[in-house]
Amino acid sequence: MRPTPAALRRSARAHFTDPTKRRGLLVAFEGPDGSGKTTQRKLFKTWLKSEGYDVVTTKWNSSDLIKPIIKSRKAVRALSPEEFSLLHGADFRHRVEQVILPALWEGKLVIADRFLFTGLARDVARGLDLDWVLKLYEPLLWPDLVFYFAVSPVTSGKRVTAMRMPNFYEAGQDVTQVDDPVESYQRFIARVIREYESLALIFNMITVDAEQSIGDQHRQIRQLFIEGQQRAWSDWNADAVAEWLATKGNGTER
């Protein structure tokens, strides 16, 4: 007999609030390109491992199943804002089910280099409705901690263009209609950062001043993590875990 959704939610709660076990933790690093979050994520991971944590990393747009589909469409610049949003939503969902929840269930610490807030900020900057996009990501899985790496559009632009030319979608050329990738990036990232700043307030992210030195940021993150890891498991996550429990394990019988 199939367990009911209510029974699955109870299982989720019982598992993640069991005081005898170290529960899985989800920490998200968010911010615009050029904010230095990948550098901080790597430093943070090294430190966590030295502290005895079993760490799993997941990156934006990285699922083995959906990433090739997105990549081939980006290469020919064939994505509308809706398709861009929906395909990234599919990639995210697949990683939640295949990588993030299995690791959390096993008590691991998951670092997400970008989380659903990246989808929200970029999609809204492309003109899509926040409510529509947010609901695509339901049932929502809330991280235990979200670090938002705040930089100005100018700093982001300088850091990104110093290393490479932004690609078509990164520069938002699909929506700015500006031919010069650098100029387009500058306009688009200003919109993305505006959305991020709203989201950081709405979703109570921890803002890190990413214009500080790398060492200062890292020390701040360690400290904030030590304080924040004691937070109770969010019951908002019960639906997401219950749905995953319903699907995991059994392939469809033939």
């Binding site: 083995d64 929906l86 599919a90 695509l136 699907t247 059994n250 469809t252």
Partner: protein, 179 residues
């Protein structure tokens, strides 16, 4: 003197839904009548599912929710390249399938109606909706057959056949309620 644009008045979006792709296509052809009136927009015009079909097993099986996000992405492609351009030229487009098949599949897999309704909010309503209840034994092709074959259990313990049957029942329910 301003010339009238008679063709614009004929623009018409007809949705044909059902679990059996062969029966849906036959109904779509009947709904279109003469090919000169317009065309038929079919599932997976964007090739998303074709790519999914050749993905490595190690990539993991998609859940019903992931499959529906991909269906919506494919539908957004069809709207952009097939449906809206034809409608703007005053032609008839038969979308076969459209949103009802996907919503019925999602309901059969246990997803909430509010999420499904939101997902397809970008799709304009069809002027006419038809459903095909016919179903060949062991539906293999089309969105429902493809998804039932490849997805994770979705609603654990449900057999493939049961997912197809429940999708057909959900479609019947949606159209009965409308009538």
């Amino acid at each position: 003197m301003t010339k009238a644009r008679p063709r614009a008045a004929k623009a018409r979006l007809i949705a044909v839904d059902g679990v059996d792709p062969a029966a849906v296509l036959a109904e779509a052809r009947a709904a279109l009548g003469s090919p000169a009136r317009g065309g038929i927009s079919k599932w997976d015009a964007s090739g998303v599912f074709q790519e999914l079909a050749v993905a490595d097993r190690e990539a993991g099986a998609p859940s019903p929710r992931t499959l529906l996000l991909l269906y919506a992405a494919d539908l957004a492609f069809r709207l952009r390249w097939q449906i809206r351009p034809a409608l703007s030229e005053g032609r008839t487009v038969v979308a076969a399938p459209y949103v009802d098949t996907a919503i019925a599949f999602g309901r059969a897999a246990g997803l909430k109606p509010a999420w499904l309704t939101n997902l397809f909010r970008f799709a304009p309503p069809a002027k006419e909706r038809r459903v095909v209840h016919a179903r060949a034994a062991g539906v293999k092709d089309g969105f429902v057959g493809f998804s039932s074959d490849r997805m994770t259990a979705g609603a654990a313990g449900r057999t493939r056949r049961r997912i197809v049957d429940e999708t057909a029942a959900q479609l019947r329910h949606r159209f009965d309620r409308r009538d």
